[in-house]
Symmetry: none
Subunit: 203 residues, 4 copies
Amino acid sequence: MQTLKEDVRQSILRAALREFKSHDYTDASMRRIASEAGITTGNIYRYYKNKEELFEALVKPVYEKLIEYVLNLKKELDRSYTGGNHGLKYLNMVEDTVIGLFDAYSAELTILMNRSAGSKYVQVKSDMVKLIATIMEDVFTSGRDNADKLTIQQRQSALMLAGTVVEGICLILREHEDGETVKRLVNEFIFLYYLGNEHRFTP
Amino acid sequence: MQTLKEDVRQSILRAALREFKSHDYTDASMRRIASEAGITTGNIYRYYKNKEELFEALVKPVYEKLIEYVLNLKKELDRSYTGGNHGLKYLNMVEDTVIGLFDAYSAELTILMNRSAGSKYVQVKSDMVKLIATIMEDVFTSGRDNADKLTIQQRQSALMLAGTVVEGICLILREHEDGETVKRLVNEFIFLYYLGNEHRFTP
Amino acid sequence: MQTLKEDVRQSILRAALREFKSHDYTDASMRRIASEAGITTGNIYRYYKNKEELFEALVKPVYEKLIEYVLNLKKELDRSYTGGNHGLKYLNMVEDTVIGLFDAYSAELTILMNRSAGSKYVQVKSDMVKLIATIMEDVFTSGRDNADKLTIQQRQSALMLAGTVVEGICLILREHEDGETVKRLVNEFIFLYYLGNEHRFTP
Amino acid sequence: MQTLKEDVRQSILRAALREFKSHDYTDASMRRIASEAGITTGNIYRYYKNKEELFEALVKPVYEKLIEYVLNLKKELDRSYTGGNHGLKYLNMVEDTVIGLFDAYSAELTILMNRSAGSKYVQVKSDMVKLIATIMEDVFTSGRDNADKLTIQQRQSALMLAGTVVEGICLILREHEDGETVKRLVNEFIFLYYLGNEHRFTP
DNA sequence: CATGAATGAGCTTTCATTCAT
DNA sequence: TATGAATGAAAGCTCATTCAT
């Protein structure tokens, strides 16, 4: 064979998935992954150069898709900043992003968002938060002409909303495996944010 | 002497607070805590049997208060389930609980909610979530006579909402030290949930 | 106590000395050093941060002295390049350097010169060789006006002579512990090189 | 088939040669040898039981020739100890030995002398040294009737000279591949020793 | 015969915990 | 009580060697 045994590679990935689902990158143990995969510690290193690479093998594909989606989102955002409340539209784009990624890589997305502490992917969450915060700020200033009039409190609120949206989505990802359920819950969740904001100033 | 001992105990707790604020239970280092407290590694074990107990010393008081408040909340809930939409009222009680605890134990609450991974307090969050989920279910069934008519989807939604509320509050606690800011953001956050739900069925 | 137990530190150094005398840096084993020192593996790291630092603790002092001596040698060399055969004089300076260093750090010098492979001190030997090669070239061109007339063969010879001088001295260091013996043998050895070269062209 | 096998054996040896030229026995890697030889890791063990045997396969032929030459040298030495300074003659025999072996097995000789650390051939060098030391002692006592009058210092000097000769030759072997260059440098080097000793007592 | 996946003992290093003083 | 040196198990990783296919 040219390639290493595909079933072993699969069981390593499966075991790694389980391990990283329940431990942060730092706390995950190669020994445990190996034994869970039914192989010896050393053998894992024939398949993945080291812990970082094993983690990356799981998480990089989603990460790259995420970046791609996020860049599109940003472009869309910049293109149409001419006014009008596009809050729901943007939030829907966020939702589509999540759902799209989840369809292809449910567990991996979960790990990327929840277990990267200690790896080089730590900043992913806060990157997402920053992006979504700009969306939120856009929501706040909708209809008005410039955004730099935001008070420091409004900026804090935007960051909070962005942070809680991200955390909320992460939670849903963590707790559910079924795609349909995830979709429905993310949809409800995002819609809640939309409605909440919609009626903020018009009670 | 007792006096001296109390001094030391206090500086251990102070140091532990700082350590656990920035590290998960597993990643926190007893050595660092000792040296930050200005004592020796071994001496820490005269005051606390082990890492778990030290963590507990920090976190148990808030935990117990939390339980207490939560039981009250529950009682209130059970007592007045006779109808009418009390969603906001209950959410306000949750908010009051958080704010109340935060006033007395800001850092400890933050730690309890955010850094318990690896300790026996991991489940606190999910306990909270379960409780709040019952509140959410109450919101859903407001005006109707019994709650066991909830579909499985509704139950999932309630759990999701509860989970995201808790995660959101945890995030706010994690990111802010200033009491006023925490209050304002938690209030906004809770209000968002209220409004979001309020207009759910009346768009 | 402020400092770690000095006798343990000494026995670690003693054990490390033994280990590094018989193994290259890479092949030396911390476990063996620890057990030879009569302590546990982990305990070594209370005294030295890692293998590199333990090696350095042994070898850095000699290394710095060596650099110092060598810079002096170089200065002397550059200052008096006006001609006349100073071969013996320079070789005597090399000898003095070796003897001086050996008096203070016999084993350490041995290790520095013979066991650095794999550490950041690998190049020490070849640095020495290069320096001594310039001395040798000076010997070859003594009395003549410029050195760049040396043929490629002469340069090879100079490098060979320098290399063998260094290797010879390393050998003497490796095989003998007694200072007087080292002195005598290095002296004889250097003198041999002097005589050998002296009579090269005047048989 | 026998033919095929011989091919493989040859390419293993060729690869091992390259590996051992640049790494000590301990640091050489069977994996690298196999891959350099264009075969699989496991297959190497069909041809050579283990690392030691592979090393031996390379080095034993030279080793045995070396022993043979050395025994001859010794015989010659014993036969003609009746007086007269035969120093140069003997040193020339040493030189002839080296050159002769080098002609037939350049790389293997280099490896035997320079890379045996960790294998069972470590002592080869010191064997050589011991033999050459007896030559040196003969040089010292030339013209006098018996050798056991040598002082301990003289014996040490003889050992030193022998050791440095051997180290010097090893160095030349290590640094040069070209046969002519090796010959010239070894010749110069040996001649240096001859001259140096010649004029020792007749300055 | 050959393959290359698998083994297992070894490596350096870290850290909660213990214990002689 | 307090000290801080010592322990020992665990981590990530490497590599000569074995063995099922």
